[in-house]
């Protein structure tokens, strides 16, 4: 809605192209849609919650008002799916950290690369658009 890019799907010419939208606009409606995922991820600010989650992920998910799709996306670590279901990267990154995954790993997921490929691309100056 806000940016022209927001509504456009990601590259579509290849079967391997990531499903991620070009740019996510985290607006109020998205925030409402993704609130349960974000709330779950926000809870990882407490060490105690991180341990609870790791010891029984399914049970931990039960504490939050997740849709089945959202629960699935969390348990499967479907990073694109979580964003498509309204989550914000600032929250889902906390889940990635629980998994000891880096932002380069996530960047790779969003763009169909390995963590190493994505990291090298950043070192070589990042990705240019427009």
């Amino acid at each position: 809605m806000a940016t022209p890019a927001a509504a456009e799907p990601g590259g579509s010419s290849s079967r391997d192209a990531p499903r991620a939208r070009d740019t996510y606009v985290f607006d109020i409606a998205e925030g409402r849609r993704g609130a349960a995922i974000n709330r779950l991820c926000a809870s990882f600010k407490d060490e105690h919650n991180r341990r609870d989650f790791l010891s029984d992920e399914e049970a931990y998910c039960g504490r939050f008002d997740l849709t089945d799709e959202q629960r699935r996306a969390i348990l499967d670590r479907d990073w694109v799916g979580m964003l498509d279901l309204g989550a914000s990267i600032f929250y889902t990154f906390k889940l990635a950290q629980v998994d000891k995954r880096s932002m380069q790993y996530l960047g790779g997921v969003f763009t169909g690369m390995t963590e190493e490929e994505f990291g090298s691309l950043m070192v070589s100056g990042g990705r240019r658009f427009g």
């Binding site: 806000a2 022209p4 740019t23 109020i28 925030g31 600010k45 991180r50 990705r127 658009f129």
Partner: protein, 295 residues
Amino acid sequence: MAEIIWGLATSHVPSIGAAMDYGKTEDAYWKPLFEGYAPAREWMAEHRPDVAVIIYNDHANAIDLDVVPTFAIGTGERFEVADEGWGRRQVPPVIGHPPLSEHLITRLVDDEFDITMLHDLDVDHGLTVPLSVYCPQPGASWPCRVVPLLVNVIQYPQPTAARCLKLGEALGRAIRSFPRDIKVAVFGTGGMSHQLAGARAGLINTRFDRMFLEKIETDPTSLAALSREQYVDQAGSEGIELIMWLVMRGALGDGLTRIHDTYHVPASNTAAALALFAVTDSGTPSAPMRSTLRR
């Protein structure tokens, strides 16, 4: 009366803090960035403020996700370092300046800025990394008090760039009317171009960043004229953080000199920069040292 002595624009990427916390600043990956910081750090070490007003954003840490203030100011005597999901940074707690916070809030509200007061606030990397950029070895305590000023850059609708520049101008007036003889530095944090999620993840726009680094000094009004959509489009969905530099810039006023700047890609997934400006109209003018910007 209080005096604004300098303004620092700096990225606040968590991994910049981690590089310092875990002694990696000499690694090949990080060395260029920290070498770029060095001249600014030397100059700042010789020009110590009593208080830093740090304009930053919380990243889903201290502020409940159901409450999104456009602009907020922390009023506390002390701000604990937030656990962002991977343990707290081992840096000193941040000490506030309640009388200055209260003065700024009152002046800004009277000046028709609709500030949210935050009476209990933990501070995340958005604030502590810039403090580390300023002062890499704080020891047991940071060398200055801090007033945190938070901007919503995460959830649409973010404040316009124009509003941020106006807030900065009002902030400058408010600081200068504080009736104590203290020296104040103003930090504008975040940026430069970066996008963490989506098919455009990894976006870096060096042309835009260089333009911004130049005009933040010479023509902030042109930066204030860009829409939030233009920021997101050009600098990435997280690059819109750059609007926080405009708050700092507005506070400095027109008599300023660029002391130093540096630009480096990447810090994690971000184009990282620093730009340091001395305020020259209310103190002795400081000669610029060197600029890596237009090398």
